[in-house]
């Protein structure tokens, strides 16, 4: 893993600059605007968690993805690399923001530890890094086009759903099940966290399988 990380650092120095700048600006913006630091931390983390995808797409664009795959490493290690890159980036941003907040605004700006152990972070990790990871690894740039179009279609569909209220026969049962699950899990923090962890764990073998199906 260390060698893979070193390889990425050597190959993609430039690609690490943008998220670092975003993180730094986010940290400073919290000071300039007077908004709670957590707001900018969330935004910066969002950008940093997209970084592993960006690195993979960059490898694809520069034609080095094939060179990565022929190295004596397993697809599992490549998936691990992307996850670790995301986690290290997130940790780096959190530390940077924490330090900036301490230096510029003084201690106590994060209102209690509750903010920092929120399941929201896990949701973010899941939705920004882990759920799209199989798509990135299997379809690369085309996959992201699909994801973006899919998100627009979903957004459009949800917006229009109100017009067809009652017209969809599955709506009641499906929505009730979804709402019940969301209600239940948010009301039960442990179950919520465990469910999130289970979802995160499920993304890893899925990513590995996706990578094995990739044609280079």
């Amino acid at each position: 893993m260390r060698d893979l990380l070193r390889r990425d650092l050597k190959l993609h120095k430039v690609a690490f600059v943008l998220p670092a700048v975003v993180a730094l600006l986010g940290g400073l913006a919290a000071f300039w605007t007077g908004e709670p630091p957590i707001v900018f931390l969330v935004l910066s983390l969002g950008v940093v968690l997209l970084q592993p995808h960006a690195l993979h797409l960059r490898e694809e664009h520069h034609g080095t993805l094939r060179e990565l795959h022929v190295l004596p490493v397993t697809p599992r290690q490549i998936v691990g690399l992307r996850v670790v890159e995301g986690l290290l980036g997130a940790l780096g941003v959190a530390l940077l923001h924490g330090m900036l907040a301490l230096v510029l605004q003084g201690p106590g700006v994060f209102q209690g530890l509750g903010q920092l152990v929120s399941p929201g972070w896990l949701w973010m990790l899941l939705m920004v890094l882990l759920v799209p990871l199989p798509v990135t690894l299997r379809w690369g740039g085309r996959g992201w086009m699909g994801l973006i179009l899919g998100a627009f279609a979903l957004g459009g569909g949800l917006t229009m759903l109100g017009q067809f209220e009652g017209a969809l026969p599955f709506r009641t049962a499906l929505f009730r099940a979804l709402l019940w699950t969301m209600d239940y899990t948010t009301a039960h923090p442990w179950q919520h966290t465990l469910a999130l962890l289970a979802l995160m764990a499920a993304c890893l073998p899925l990513s590995e399988a996706a990578l094995r199906r990739r044609s280079l």
Partner: protein
């Protein structure tokens, strides 16, 4: 005989093209040449062997094992040269060596340096500024510096001048001096095969039309040349290919048929070259130009 590479029914399907099923083996201590026109499936086969494409059927056995559960170990025992885009272009050969070194337990830095000297590589010039020949030599130096037992080389001599090509071929011969190693390389340049290969496999439209020891293959066929009366013989119908040109007929026949055909005085029967085999095999009489 130990086989370093063994294909059994290997198949890959694309919407407009199917490779295989391929059955083929590369024994230790041998150089095997893979010949075929553009689009015959040579690069696809190389990618399948390196795990860059998932196969749709059949099995690849490397060093007696499949990739499952042994991927890094098997890949560490293989060296490769693939068609472009190749390695990161902003790095120098020296940096490329440093980049891949940690992944290969048997990386030999001294050998990498000596290959660089032998190939007269500018080790501190970025890959994108190297000539086509220098790029190929860099890839070869990388492939040969980790003590690989099986070399998979896709068109390793393309873009090389005749001197460099000869040097590369000599190097391949040196590699297989060690009986435990083998080379599989694809090429368009059939004279390269004549020079160094022990085995040859001909790919056409995704199928392996001929494969075997080079001398056995050449002994098994005859190029029969004569007048149009050649075509009257029943043996002519069994020809694997041929052409008619200005009243003369050339037929690629199994050696036993050639004896039957070679009765009239005007007929010449000769051992084909690999180029003849590649050129004539599977080509109906009227499809080839004079």
């Amino acid at each position: 005989m130990t086989h370093l590479l063994d294909l059994r029914g290997l198949t890959k399907r694309f919407p407009a093209f199917t490779l295989g099923p391929l059955d083929f083996a590369v024994p230790a201590g041998s150089i095997t040449g893979l010949v075929g026109a553009n689009g015959a499936g040579k690069s696809t086969l190389m990618k399948l062997l390196l795990g860059l494409l998932p196969a749709d059927g059949g099995a690849v056995t490397l060093f007696g094992r499949t990739y499952t559960g042994a991927e890094p170990e098997l890949k560490a025992r293989m060296g490769f040269v693939l068609d472009p885009p190749g390695p990161p272009r902003h790095l120098t050969p020296l940096e490329l060596g440093t980049l891949v070194k940690p992944f290969y337990p048997r990386w030999d830095a001294a050998r990498f340096r000596s290959l660089g000297q032998r190939f007269e590589l500018p080790m501190k010039t970025t890959f994108q500024k190297l000539s086509q020949g220098e790029r190929m030599k860099t890839l070869l130096a990388l492939a040969l510096s980790h003590d690989a037992e099986l070399l998979l080389l896709d068109e390793p001599t393309s873009g090389l001048d005749p001197l460099a090509r000869r040097d590369v071929l000599d190097l391949l011969l040196e590699v297989v001096q060690d009986e435990g190693r083998a080379v599989l390389f694809s090429t368009h340049i059939v004279s390269d095969l004549e020079r160094v290969t022990d085995q040859v496999a001909f790919l056409k439209d995704g199928r392996m039309i001929l494969a075997g020891a080079k001398d056995d293959l050449l002994d098994a066929w005859r190029l029969v040349k004569g007048g149009p009366e050649l075509l009257d013989s029943p043996a002519a119908a069994r020809a694997a290919g041929g052409r008619r040109c200005e009243g003369r007929v050339e037929l690629l026949c199994p050696a036993e048929d050639a004896r039957a055909l070679a009765t009239p005085e005007a007929v010449l029967s000769e051992r084909p070259t690999l180029e003849d085999l590649a050129f004539f095999h599977g080509r109906p009489l009227e499809t080839l130009p004079c």
